[in-house]
């Protein structure tokens, strides 16, 4: 079959990313031809600033070299600018007369620096800051000239100025506004930044408007000696004059006052443009055969210059080119970071405040730290951080999720690590870490490895880093640190994962959308759900299948069928897999109680099967280690105790203290309450593990404050706390309600857990779910709505009833026999 012809005009990051995605999705669909106006293959434009600063080389920042194009069968024309599109004949023509036919065309023409329309703007030595050519020109100038003037105190201008200064030039930044980065920073933060940069040797002229660029001879007599410049044939820049009549010397002028989308080609072909090539949500122009992507595009009135949104566009565009037809680009929220080594600044959203907003401020000018959080209607709407940007990613996430911050308002300024008490935070400044320092404690990944992977492999997202280095892919507690490292390398071009996260790579639907579809359309199996929701993969992956299985079972108990093959091995084998492939066995001990019979049977099993290790767990139970898989059913039969579900996303342990039965301080019978709770909720599957505890008095020996549901007995009844967590990040449970009777404890805790089971995302602990929906919502559902609470409790009881003990089934009824048999040949 004849392949279709795909032609791309432009050879930059957004365009090539689109091709990569197309090749991944539909490798055989197109013959691809690329025209690039630059003589280079695809490089990482974001990292031009570090190249200018001498921290990296051009070689370091290549993303796709010429070999890549050849290996993927792409015809690459470098140094050839396309000047005409014949839409009727579907042919593009380059400057040199060469041409290419297309069935689909991608315009990825990028943008060019805006050059101020002032006299002298065409003198030699007046340049923009856009490509390798500009960087080469700047580096060359820094070798033979002294005075550099950067016009424009925005991100790009400051990065250029910093680079030129490091190259030994005397640099003045000219800016028209009252303060630097006025689109990213408020005045206070900008002043701190300015001072910091002045300490590095940069000079600033604010509130100055350029009137003309002056050639060398026109400069006043007291300008610096010109000596060796006499042999330069064309007129070179010699100075800059401002509207107030003042002048400064300049041997190099860098214009960094903004960018203009390159639309001339599209316009000449009659494609609708309006400050960019206008595209719809599938990145198509007004000619449906022609797509446009990158900085040349106007999408819903916005032109983006940061890489994260451009890559999102690339994904959508490729999806449609691959004829899959799912996915829309609906715009992006962006945040800002400056790529100047040693300077930390971050801003996002409405950081100026004003109107009905409230500000929380932390200002330490001597220490060089300034933080401003802007809040409206109990939501974070803007953040501006200077000097300490550790929590930038976290604030940005709060901002985009529009999360209610009333509950954490008093801690908000102090960052994420203060919201919980402690945790594996380690270091709070990624930039200050040395390359050997460990970032990911689970997988032993140090900072240098991550930095190297980001630079060499051209990574842009947290997901990329997880895949390539394994950092942040296990417990996730170093995610913030990895995000900081990404941000410090990619600068403003890094944006954390989108707010509405899809369930996994197999679909664009969110957890919530999938749950809603299962409920509303009564989907009862994983294949039906995947078909209905148009999954991209034939049978999902190890991330989505367990989630779907849980959603189906929790939404339609007794109707949806459990799919063991979609469960993680622990839930399939009903034991915990260990590093050597053996398993561990934890029998249930109601409320932490046991008896001599059980202990004797445990001892007998340990002897008979030569159990190498017996351990008392933190959850008041006993764990037998080193069990061979084929022995599990026999051991369960001989133990004759129920499963402790220590391996499952289900009710684990109910920890208790001894309570009134023996304790002289006890006010309630906590042990019995624990046993009752455990018997009531035993066999309850959940989005993640669920741990409970009951203490008999406020001394709280059962540590109820760090459990999903913690119950504390007081003289007049029971206090119920929810959303505690003692794991990766310690979270103290919040007070939910005080009740009088044990029946009420069961009903309120059960209703809380049932609503969590029905509404949380798979792998959310209770605390994560509460953080998202807010404690007020939980209270409304569990406390204010009596009918709703009773109904939720009934639904939980219905879901659990008739659920069999998994060990008994396998030990006595031969369920899933194949799981435990090895075939000998």
């Amino acid at each position: 079959m004849q392949k279709m012809k795909l032609v791309m005009v432009g050879n930059g990051m957004a365009g090539v990313r689109t091709l990569e995605e197309v090749l991944r999705l539909a490798p055989e669909l197109y013959d691809i031809t690329v025209f690039g106006a630059e003589p280079h293959a695809n490089y990482n434009r974001i990292l031009l600033s570090p190249v200018l600063a001498g921290e990296q080389t051009i070689k370091d920042i290549m993303l796709n070299d010429v070999d890549w194009y050849r290996e993927n069968g792409i015809t690459l024309h470098l140094n050839r600018k396309v000047v005409r599109i014949d839409r009727k004949a579907r042919v593009v023509y380059a400057e040199d007369g060469s041409s290419a036919e297309y069935d689909r065309l991608i315009l990825a023409t990028g943008s060019t620096p805006f050059i101020l329309p002032v006299p002298g703007n065409d003198l030699q030595g007046v340049i923009g800051f856009r490509d390798i050519h500009d960087v080469d020109a700047m580096i060359a100038a820094s070798k033979s000239y002294k005075h550099a003037v950067v016009i424009g105190g925005g991100l790009l201008g400051l990065e250029a100025a910093n680079g030129l200064k490091l190259r030994g030039m005397d640099v003045t930044v000219v800016h028209i506004s009252d303060w630097l980065l006025e689109r990213q920073l408020d005045q206070t933060a900008a002043r701190l930044l300015q001072k910091n940069l002045e300490d590095k040797g940069l000079k600033f002229l604010l509130k100055k408007q350029t009137a003309a660029i002056l050639p060398v001879p026109a400069l006043s007599p007291n300008s610096p000696p010109q000596g060796e410049r006499d042999d330069v044939p064309t007129l070179r820049v010699g100075g800059v004059r401002f509207t107030d009549g003042s002048e400064i010397p300049a041997d190099l002028v860098v214009m960094a006052v903004g960018i203009r989308p390159n639309t001339a080609l599209a316009e000449s072909a009659g494609i609708h443009c309006n400050r960019g090539i206008v595209v719809n949500d599938t990145m198509q122009t007004y000619d449906p055969r022609i797509y446009a992507i990158g900085e040349c595009v106007n999408h819903r009135g916005t032109a983006y210059g940061l890489v994260a949104p451009l890559f999102e566009m690339a994904k959508v565009c490729a999806n449609h080119l691959a004829q899959m037809g799912i996915g829309r680009y609906t715009g992006s929220v962006t945040s800002t970071k400056l790529k100047v080594t040693g300077i930390d600044l971050f801003s996002a959203g409405n950081f100026s405040g004003g109107g009905k907003t409230e500000n929380i401020l932390l200002s330490d000018p001597v220490g060089g730290v300034y933080k401003k959080l802007v809040i409206q209607d109990n939501k974070l709407v803007g953040a501006c951080l200077y000097g300490d940007t550790v929590d930038g990613a976290w604030y940005f996430q709060l901002l985009r999720e529009g999360r209610d911050i009333a509950g954490i308002r008093d801690h908000l300024m102090f960052g994420q690590s203060h919201v919980g008490d402690v945790g594996h935070q380690g270091h709070n400044k990624a930039a200050a870490m040395s390359d050997e320092m460990e970032v990911c404690g689970c997988n032993g990944v140090c900072k240098g490895t991550i930095v190297k992977a980001i630079k060499e492999k051209g990574l842009f997202t947290l997901e990329d880093v997880r895949k390539h280095t394994k950092a942040s892919s296990s417990c996730g507690s170093c995610t913030g640190l990895v995000e900081q490292i990404l941000a410090s390398i990619l600068g403003g071009d890094y944006s954390p994962a989108p707010a509405a996260k899809s369930l996994c790579g197999c679909t664009d639907h969110t957890h919530e959308e999938v749950r809603a579809a299962i409920r509303e359309h009564k989907l009862l199996s994983i294949p039906d759900t995947m078909k209905f929701m148009e999954w991209r993969t034939p049978n999902g992956c190890a991330s989505c299948r367990p989630a779907l299985n849980y959603y189906l079972l929790s939404t339609w108990p007794h109707e949806a069928r459990d799919d063991p093959q979609s469960r993680f091995i622990n839930e399939r084998a009903h034991a915990n897999i260990q590093k050597d492939g053996t398993y561990s066995v934890v029998p249930r001990m109601w409320g932490g109680t046991t008896n001599s019979g059980e202990l004797r049977r445990i001892a007998d099993v340990a002897d008979k099967y030569q159990v190498p290790m017996i351990r008392v767990t933190g959850g008041q139970r006993i764990d037998l280690f080193g069990i061979k898989k084929e022995d599990l059913p026999k051991i369960w039969a001989e133990l004759d105790m129920p499963s402790g579900h220590a391996y499952a996303k289900a009710l684990r342990t109910v920890k208790t203290c001894i309570g009134t039965e023996f304790c002289r301080f006890g006010t309630q019978n906590s042990t019995q309450m624990g046993i009752d709770l455990e018997k009531a909720f035993y066999k309850m599957w959940a989005p993640h593990k669920v741990k409970l505890a009951v203490s008999g008095c406020p001394r709280n020996c059962a540590e109820a404050a760090i459990k999903d549901v913690g119950v504390i007995g007081v003289d007049s009844g029971w206090e119920i706390y929810v959303g505690g967590n003692g794991g990766i990040k310690t979270e103290v449970a919040e007070f939910l309600v005080k009740v009088k009777t044990a029946e009420e404890v069961l009903e309120y805790s059960g209703a809380f857990l049932q609503i969590y089971r029905e509404e949380a995302r798979y792998l959310d602990r209770t605390v994560h779910w509460i953080q998202r929906v807010g404690m007020d919502y939980v209270k409304k559902r569990v406390l204010d709505d009596d009918e709703g609470r009773k109904a939720a409790y009934q639904r939980l009881m219905y879901a659990i009833q008739a659920e069999k003990d998994p060990w008994a089934e396998r030990a006595r009824e031969g369920v899933a026999k194949h799981e435990f048999e090895t075939l000998a040949v």
């Binding site: 367990p546 093959q565 075939l823 000998a824 040949v825």
Partner: protein, 103 residues
């Protein structure tokens, strides 16, 4: 030379699942995809030696239960960007029975 060894009826390997075959003290994982496709390889992840047979099978790859490395069932190679590979064995289904060729 026909050294095919009869292993197990196909219907005793669950779809999207695996069985472990023990041969001379070595474990071989025999996988089945969502149809009748079967694949065999050493039951040992190239990452840290995890038992691949215990992983979740999807499409034509398996995810190791230890640290989530994805291994392609067809050739035993780690799915990019991971690196590594597992030794595979010829395997066939005849009259509903799975046969394995072990050198």
């Amino acid at each position: 030379m026909s050294n095919w060894i009869k292993v197990v009826p196909l219907n005793e390997i669950p779809k999207l699942g695996a069985r472990v075959v023990r041969h001379n003290g070595r474990d071989i994982a025999v996988f089945r995809n969502d149809g009748d496709g079967v694949f065999a390889m050493n039951d040992k992840c190239p990452h840290k030696g995890g038992p691949l047979s215990q992983g979740i099978v999807s499409g034509n790859s398996v995810t190791c239960p230890m640290h989530g490395m994805n291994i392609s069932l067809a050739d035993g190679k780690a799915v990019a960007p991971d690196e590594g590979c597992v030794g595979t064995y010829p395997v066939k289904v005849e009259a509903g029975v799975v046969y394995l060729q072990i050198m």
